[in-house]
């Protein structure tokens, strides 16, 4: 075989394909046993935090989202995710908890693959640097008002923070469409692991069973 062709085929295509098979296709196909879920499946109703936002900032919420419906919630989550990407939040905050370095004590449950198998993690936002803390267990950790103040000027609530101010998430002093979306997104991250969520889920299941029994 001619030398150039050999180089291009074996080194260029061959080695690349081999690596793609081993470190791409193999783990991906392994992880693909779980179905990719849509937002409808993972967030079938608006979160309590989202409803709370509609009461806290009624005018702004009405203006940008109308009623706190499922559709409005999904719109907010997608906008929040897109803003998180556009502002490169993911370059200073990670979204996975490692099983080492006491991270489960600091942040919460260690990350597992299935919780990322949904459209909100397309593309994934694992991140490779933590200037600020990890955010995948952020849900329910702090109130909506804390997040609003923090986006407006982080040093108001965390005096030593070096996070930039995101004043363009606000109309004056009230969060705008993006501001509300960001708070909703923060409160959604890891909401599937909070005690509130689990208790709520159990309550609903118990109710459903009860209704079934009475029918």
């Amino acid at each position: 075989m001619e030398k150039l062709a050999a180089i291009l085929l074996i080194a260029g295509l061959g080695c690349f394909a081999f690596a793609g098979l081993l470190t791409g296709y193999l783990p991906v196909s392994h992880l693909s046993k779980v179905e990719v879920k849509t937002l409808d499946e993972i967030a079938p109703e608006p979160s309590l935090d989202f409803i709370d936002l509609s009461k806290r900032y009624p005018e702004q919420f009405k203006k940008y989202y109308g009623e706190p419906t499922k559709e409005a919630f999904h719109k907010a989550l997608r906008l929040g995710r897109d803003t998180y990407i556009g502002e490169a939040c993911w370059h200073c905050h990670s979204q996975f908890i490692r099983p080492v370095s006491n991270e489960d004590i600091r942040f919460g449950k260690v990350s597992w693959a299935d919780e990322y198998r949904n459209e909100m993690f397309l593309p994934h936002l694992f991140g490779t640097r933590r200037v600020g803390p990890d955010l995948i267990r952020e849900s329910g950790r702090r109130g909506n008002d804390w997040h609003v103040a923090h986006f407006y000027d982080p040093q108001l609530v965390a005096p030593l923070s070096i996070m930039p101010r995101y004043t363009w998430f606000f109309d004056g002093e009230e969060p705008n469409e993006v501001g509300i979306a960001m708070v909703a997104y923060m409160q959604w991250l890891g909401s599937w692991t909070t005690p509130q969520k689990i208790a709520y889920q159990e309550l609903k299941e118990a109710q459903a069973k009860k209704e079934e029994a009475t029918e």
């Binding site: 001619e2 030398k3 150039l4 180089i7 291009l8 080194a11 260029g12 295509l13 080695c15 690349f16 081999f18 690596a19 793609g20 470190t23 791409g24 783990p27 991906v28 392994h30 992880l31 693909s32 990719v36 990407i85 556009g86 502002e87 490169a88 370059h91 200073c92 990670s94 996975f96 490692r98 099983p99 080492v100 370095s101 006491n102 991270e103 600091r106 990350s111 693959a113 990322y116 198998r117 949904n118 993690f121 397309l122 593309p123 994934h124 694992f126 991140g127 490779t128 640097r129 933590r130 200037v131 600020g132 803390p133 965390a158 030593l160 923070s161 070096i162 930039p164 101010r165 004043t167």
Partner: protein
Amino acid sequence: MTEKPANRELVYAEIIKYHFACGVSFFLIALTAGFFYALVLTDLNPLEGIEIFSPGRWRMVHTNAIAYGFLINMFIGILYWVVPRLTGHPVASKKLSWLILGAWQLIVLLAAVGILLGDAQAIEWGETPTWVDHLAVVGVALLVVNVATPLFKTRGEKLYVSLWYFGAMLVWTPLVYIMGNYLPQYLVPGAGGAAITGMYIHDLVGLSVTPLGWGMMYYFVPVLLKKPIWSHTLSILGFWGLAFFYPLNGVHHFFYSPIPMYAQYGAVVSTIAVELVVFTVIVNFFMTLRGRGDLLRSNISVRWFFVGMVFYFITCFQCAFHTTLTFQKIIHFTDWVVGHAHLVMFGVFGFWMIGGVTYLWPKVTGREWWSAKLNAWNFWLSSIGLVFMFLDLTGAGLVQGFLWADLAQWEKSIQSSMPFWHGRTFAGAMIITGQVLQVFNMWKTAKSPAPKNG
């Protein structure tokens, strides 16, 4: 053997000049963006609260302008110089070269504008907005056509090792770009996407920048030293080692993530193997330099290559350790990694690049350097600045990592990083000063009157 045309007719020096000029311009933009970001970390951001100067966006401009604006532009210039000389054939077309020159600058500018307007993609080193990705693929394809043409005209002739690297790079780059920018964005969510992003981050360095850098160093070092490379066997061994082991490393960017552990163990082993492969280049360089050490004093290009090679040794030695899961517990997510990245991208490939340009700029402009002194100033400012930055960030990384593991308050890690971050700003200022001097010198050289007999 048939008479080959003179090098002067083979090489379009004018286009190379413009690629270099655009490259260093983007370099200055990238450095400015990096400097702003350093100011943000020390809470001194002068542009606080202005949307298009949002620090996160500037961070992406920093890395993308380095990768696509600086390194790729410079490498295109180098390819246009080296490939025709080694093959004896010019690149496919002069018109196409001009088109690529314009198109590539447009792509990088569009990406920068898109990012500043808040339209980024969440792929590290590929934050170019998704709609720019398609243009970038076309741009890369044009470049491949342009540079692969002379390669294919060499039917049957013996190829120097630089051309092996360049040839393989021409296959890898489009594949890597398409894989990294499309699969995790549209098809593979979560941990699987992370495995592919890891491959992209790594392959962009390993399968585009590294083969270009090695090919360049295997061309320029013998030319500068006026003696053949020490071992051709070693250089070929390095080629196959790079081709086989480098692409297997991707997952090492996401250790302890929910990517299956077998992939992570594999990444540890293959990363250590890569460090051994890199030593073929390092050994080859130092053995070739043996006996010509005097050039370190008299020839500044050799000096850039030499220091770059010393940095390469340090990064790879460091990498063989910190890729282990033991080190990862502490140093992952910290400034240690940032220090490593700066040492590789600037200290190794940036330094070689400047070495190559210091040699080529007088040749493509047809003028002597305006000031040799400024070149020396840049060398010392960049070298000292970078060593300072590397040690500083490595130290910061250890402090951060141990404070986090100790469950100290998060703010404590910020507070303790502050002195390091101030140090990094200072080191960055040194590097920027050096590069500004370099670009000023390039400008003055190009604008100086042409020599009479030239």
